[in-house]
Symmetry: D2
Subunit: 296 residues, 4 copies
């Protein structure tokens, strides 16, 4: 099978490597001339056998929109676009409708696994029609981890379902990370009691209820920097965590841990908190409690 792959950043490049290693022919395009196989998206389309399959792996939002629009101009009825980026599921509805006017098919694929996917395989959550998903199953099989197909791949539903599932996956991921992080702080704080924080996490890898891949990564991170001295407690967040909250709100689903993990990231990026200034000011007003002056 021969597919096109638009977007050869950290993820796309690794995916091309894995696809090729597993027998899929890939023509890749990226604006970065060091990694691209062809000069233009037009060249990429020209290089593919019909019906064409193009996997899009670029940043969600405006960039994915523009790539889909460009491909819409270049592809023909019966061709297929797979959006493997972190698009919002509502964008899938929009893209599928746009493409359907010309008879171009569309699949959305949530892809998990990060930089480890090239070796471990990628967890895949896919939305689209049964026929299209079956048609490109060799691509999914090349990307997914070894083992039973249904432990690393799922056809979740129609268009949008793959990214919806990936969004929820990332919401869960945020809360899982925060859970371990709170535990880390609890252990770290009591150095009078806990004499081996990294060793404690390491020992949780077998037999315990909390064992997981994230735990293994935390063990690795603590091996590299046992006190996290080289790292700042500053954490970005991506669209998917935020969308998870928005969907929760829209559907009246209580998500206290997922939201707490997002808010913790927001706070982590603030030099000072306007809200806590207000609380400090209030305490000072009613109790005469001293405030820390900004220039202290």
């Amino acid at each position: 099978m021969h597919i096109g792959l638009v977007g050869l950043g950290k993820m796309g490049n690794n995916m091309r490597t894995r696809l090729r290693a597993n027998g899929i022919e890939v023509t890749g395009f990226d604006r970065n001339p060091d990694v691209t196989d062809v000069a233009t998206i037009s060249d990429l389309v020209a290089a593919l056998p019909a019906p064409r399959t193009v996997w899009v792996m670029v940043p969600a939002g405006a960039i994915t929109d523009s790539v889909v629009e460009e491909l819409n101009g270049l592809l023909e009825a019966g061709d297929l676009i797979i959006d493997g980026g972190n698009s919002r599921f509502t964008d899938d509805f929009k893209h599928a409708e746009l493409l359907s006017a010309k008879g171009i098919d569309y699949i959305d694929a949530g892809v998990s696994g990060g930089v480890w996917g090239v070796d471990n395989g990628y967890g895949l959550m896919v939305g689209g029609s049964k026929e299209q998903v079956e048609r490109v199953m060799p691509v999914f099989d090349a990307l997914r981890p070894e083992g039973p197909r249904d432990e690393g791949f799922v056809h979740v539903g129609e268009v949008g379902a793959g990214h919806y599932a990936k969004m929820v996956h990332n919401g869960i991921e945020y809360a899982l990370m925060q859970a371990y992080a709170e535990g880390f702080e609890l252990l770290d704080k009591r150095e009078d009691i806990i004499k081996d924080v990294p060793g404690t996490f390491k020992a949780w890898q077998r037999g315990t209820v909390v064992r997981s891949w994230l735990l293994e990564l935390l063990v690795r991170a603590l091996e590299e920097d046992p006190d996290f001295e080289q790292i700042e407690g500053y954490v970005e967040d991506s669209g998917e965590g935020r969308w998870t909250i928005e969907e929760a709100i829209a559907n009246a689903v209580p998500v206290p841990t997922i939201s707490a993990s997002i808010f913790a990231r927001f706070v982590s990026r603030q030099e000072d908190s306007p809200a806590m200034k207000a609380v400090a000011a209030l305490r000072n007003q009613f109790g005469g409690h001293a405030v820390k002056k900004a220039d202290d």
Copy 2:
């Protein structure tokens, strides 16, 4: 009526002023010679008519314990100690039991109102026996705000009930402050839309659902420093907020807003967050996301 008052800090001193202004004779003791009326607690006890009433207004915990113990040695059967400090209600049980051996009575009084109490009067929540509470009602009437007694004073129950109610009062207070503070940050963040943050809070003082005394204090604070430029978002917390969470846990009462307000204070005092270092390290491990180096 003539009572003793041990502890003439910010609160105690103001209370002496209000008591005297409202016709209660007060002999005060404090280790600070500038404010004390007598040289020792022993002198204070000697100055009072039997049966004696001594109001204790010192920091909760070890200091209140030691004052109660010292008074236990000096007072007689039929005398009364009122603990008006911010003691944990479980300490009241301990104090009452200690004193009961000698027939000394005990009342716990939660006192709210901060530095404004000297003029506005203090909100009072009282625990103890009906007889004792009635006996010292003139003291409570002198301290409480003008208006109907039951709008500024309550006999909540037996010993411990006053401080339990005060503890809950303070737990609520924490969450109320946090609520306004979150609203402040939401308004403050959108300076493209909200052209008058102080004016918005000011306008909420009449007619709105959120009007309150804390709102009035926030308006005052914003008048003094409209952008909170002089203030750091660093907020202490006292025992009562923490005890509220502990009681909630002990009684299986969900307190998401009260706990959130405490945690926000904890975070406000951290130079960097160990938990968020762990999250940053995890993201770096799986996604190759750049971390902020501690020396950036």
Copy 3:
């Protein structure tokens, strides 16, 4: 001054009453023939002197959209629409743009005060141009509470700012309510200690830090039904609370208490919690902990 008022539900009807009582002539329209002054919106427009002012007080979203569109067809350059409903501030941008094509002016007004506003006056947060706001100041003065104008009215910014401020107001309101409610449950749970829950809230009305209008309402509610025996713990939420979270997410503002108060409402409306079924199932899987069967 003579204005039109579209929407004579609970709020609109009360506002007509207050406006008339304070010297504003009002022609009201409602689909309910029992309360309307005119048969159609067209009649309402015809009854007003130019330049016309029409206050719209109908449910946010589709209904407000359709009323604004109908008025857009009926009004002329120089006329003014004030949307006093609970519209999302982003709808204001849309409405103002629509109307501007014909030279019709637009003001958004957040209105707080509920059923009490007819007597107490309404807290008003207004967005729009300085000229237009000044032009209809008599209307705002008629609606707002007595006292200094800036304690019950604020011109927050350009179009949209009024509803943005109202949205934040309601977000705060949610968290304030939840704070008192958590305190109520903490007091209520310890009937062994707290012998007078309604009396405790009543006594917080003067002198304390937590005194507020919501507290007064809680006192009233407890007087009517001291144990809330007649009431179910089932709470709806409106758009404004949800939008507050969405704005917080969009602007990276941590809002742990406001979100907790929304989630508590979501949970309150669930017969059973899918999430807690999942937790129960998990506990059963690893620990052999018994689960409650659905038909127990």
Copy 4:
């Protein structure tokens, strides 16, 4: 090696099986005659070679206290008690001090793994002196999972450290479970989009960031009951989750996700929520919003 084991409930019984399977001689005692090896604890002590090792595996708190006290009366200097139950770490301090008067040694061991431990091995977190821990290492090696020792066993620190680590482990566990549960509800709610909720969780088992042992258990649970129709959303909590919050409060560690997961369990067990009754009552007071009557 030959040890005594007091407590042959679900956990203790399984542990005896695993110990014996791995070459440790075990004399077990339980009040249940069907499972016990000896009639009394005294018989158990008599059956052991000196220096004796007795593993206590009974419910934390009063029962563990009484077993430790009984053993204190029966054992001699140089003997060792290992508390493998879910005791609070502060109880370890108490037990160690009691036993030290007679020269009896003490180790606390946090044990994770639930009903799966008999086959998979138990994750072990141990507190005590280096000498004692080394002396009974064969016991720990028999219990822990296969693989490198430091991936299933850790000597965390002095007495108390094992249970402290286990407490934090369980706090994390609570939040992890809640995270997956929130994700489950988000998927479950959108049956219009997600056509295969169990399949989605199943597919997360390989390659994804959220893969874990708890996820595998959730997959199992969904295979048994895909819609959780047989299960009620009612979840108990044990001491360790609560103690985690208390320790967090005592050490000023923010734990928003762990606390949220506990509060969700509290709510899950309420027939109706007093707090939400209060919120409903408040909404009714200011807005005239209808409340659900308790008998609706």
